[in-house]
Assembly symmetry: C2
């Protein structure tokens, strides 16, 4: 057994301790005589798993008491539809900020359900920056303002939390940066995050919603996308993704053992700093993002000649560095440095990059 | 480690061999240096998993070439909305057959999207039987006819495949009986099944759809529920539930090793026969379902006095027999005998039931 350093953007590396725990209790969870995969979501064992995981997530993110925490299926992409379906009528307008490919996906889906105003668009910068909020143009009576705190493909991260006009709820797709550092949940109306980066296996999406925003959905929202019904049934009007939920709970416990989000933020800053510094100092590798908006989690970079890409990836694989190929829409390389990536993995990547440059620079 | 016999209705028992395989490759899948949970759905390892699982399922069910096989999220409950959203316009009418609680759920959700005609309703029998097809009243131009081949809670299974009027597609919620015996897929337009009974972990739903039924969806079907988009992107327009999909693939391979669906059907008949015979011969336990409509998979039964239920369940737990409590809506007991339940488990249950009767009968 030889584990690699996995820089995949998602599904992504999980902490080895968590995987070992899953393995060790896979055939018999805490004396239940069965796997978590096999147990009823209505039984006492799973009820305890669900309660503990919610409690741990609330503690990690300091979620205020007037927010519900939901564990749903369908990934963040399902929420691209669920957000307008739960928060608007068809005649309403929602404000979106476009900072890249994932914002664009959310916007495209929302346009099928309500009017969409682009409050700001980073297009002029080639999506290499976040527009200053002073330049944003809000709709006065918008149903909500939606933004993408971290663009997984572009590697652009908000250096601030937007401030919508009074009373307009802020909605965030936190898929690729949730749990990477503290979040001021109270400044948001809705936070959602696909699990497969910093939470657990794909097939789960965590949603944090302020209670006063429930009950606004339209008549035709599918039951499994209806936040109000989900909240009323503790995320179990139907069978939830039990095993993924359990793994998420183990990740939350691991994060608490690491010291919580302030501690992991320090480590994430250290990891990102090592990589960005190496890129900037190289005169060979290049990251296109404005320095103040560089992502802590996803670091895209290019080589001076795209014809070197295949060679770079082959050598990386031989060095035990996996998942470095950039998204097919943008090409180049991308190193995702989620919580489960140790500093040693980033150091190994930088050492490989320097060696590659020496041989091909 | 002491495994119990798990009679849970779902999530449900998985084959021990499958769990052991998951455990053994949990930290390093086939030399990839990472868990399946951690790998990109776009990479070669997962592509091979996806292709093999689809191929094995097609072989097991003899799926004709003009059907697409989709691996989606949200469980069967998501398909309760997706079926009318993908097959009707709001003015259309769909025919539903009501044979119990799960049919009713499908009907309730469908009514939010189209007109629903109850082609038949087993209400008069207390949902203890399947109405003869000669009595059904079809809508001539129905968008489809929907039925529930096996009612997980009621324990009622269709002894025949319905025959809709010419050209009207037949849609089946096969959640709790898929893979328990051969199915004539070609007589169906759409088959869907939540994974957590005979396929794998909760959070996955398998959908088999005839190609000519794609492209009929309405404008506002959420992208993650859109069969046409799912089919065009090999079930991956967004990140699928990768780990659940992988486990499903292992279950398909296990089924092939058991000899496929004819072999497992024989075993399932033997298991059900042992339990139903014991119930009928007891003069103590009782199953309410008409003999010709008794489920191979879910066997509800009652004790002569509901005050004995708690005692029965406590003794069962001590005997290593888990998950026997009936659904909260109907009470009593229920033994689910999915593919992963060995004959020895059913024999152990019957021995316990006989011993309980000797002491309390």
């Amino acid at each position: 057994m030889s584990r690699v350093y996995n820089f995949s953007a998602g599904p992504a590396a999980l902490p080895l301790e968590v995987l070992e725990q899953i393995r060790d209790e896979l055939l018999d969870f805490h004396g239940a005589g069965m796997s978590v995969m096999e147990m009823s979501h209505r039984g006492r064992h799973f009820a305890a798993i669900a309660q503990q995981s919610e409690s741990d997530l609330r503690e990690l993110l300091a979620v205020p008491a007037n927010y519900k925490v939901l564990f749903m299926q369908g990934g963040a992409s399902a929420q691209f539809a669920a957000v307008p379906l739960n928060l608007t009528k068809p005649s309403a307008c929602a404000d979106y900020v476009n900072t890249g490919i994932w914002s664009t996906k959310a916007i495209t889906e929302a346009k099928r359900y309500c009017k969409v105003n682009l409050a700001a668009d980073a297009k002029a910068s080639g999506y290499s920056t976040v527009p200053q909020q002073a330049e944003w143009v809000f709709t006065p009576d918008a149903a909500y303002v939606h933004y993408t705190p971290n663009e997984t493909i572009g590697g652009v991260e908000f250096p601030f939390v937007p401030l919508p006009p009074g009373g307009v709820p802020l909605v965030a797709d936190y898929s690729s940066s949730i749990l990477s550092r503290p979040i001021d949940v109270s400044r948001h109306g809705v936070i959602y995050a696909g699990a497969q980066k910093n939470i657990g296996p794909a097939g789960l999406v965590v949603l944090i919603v302020r209670e006063d925003l429930l009950g606004r959905g339209r008549e035709d929202v599918p039951t499994v996308m209806n936040w109000t019904i989900m909240a009323a049934h503790d995320s179990m009007p139907n069978t939830p993704a039990t095993f993924s939920w359990y793994v998420a709970g183990l990740v939350f416990q691991w994060l608490k053992r690491q010291g919580g989000l302030h501690a992991i933020e320090s480590l994430n800053h250290a990891k990102a700093s090592v990589l960005y510094s190496a890129i900037d100092a190289s005169g060979f590798y290049r990251n296109p993002v404005a320095p103040g908006c560089r992502s802590l989690m996803n670091v895209p970079f290019t080589l001076p000649d795209a014809r070197l890409d295949t060679l770079f990836l082959e050598g990386a694989a031989q060095a035990g560095l996996a998942g470095l190929q950039g998204h097919k829409l943008v090409g180049g390389m991308r190193a995702s440095l989620y919580n489960a990536m140790p500093l040693a993995g980033v150091q190994a990547l930088v050492a490989y990059m320097q060696e590659f440059q020496r041989r091909h620079g």
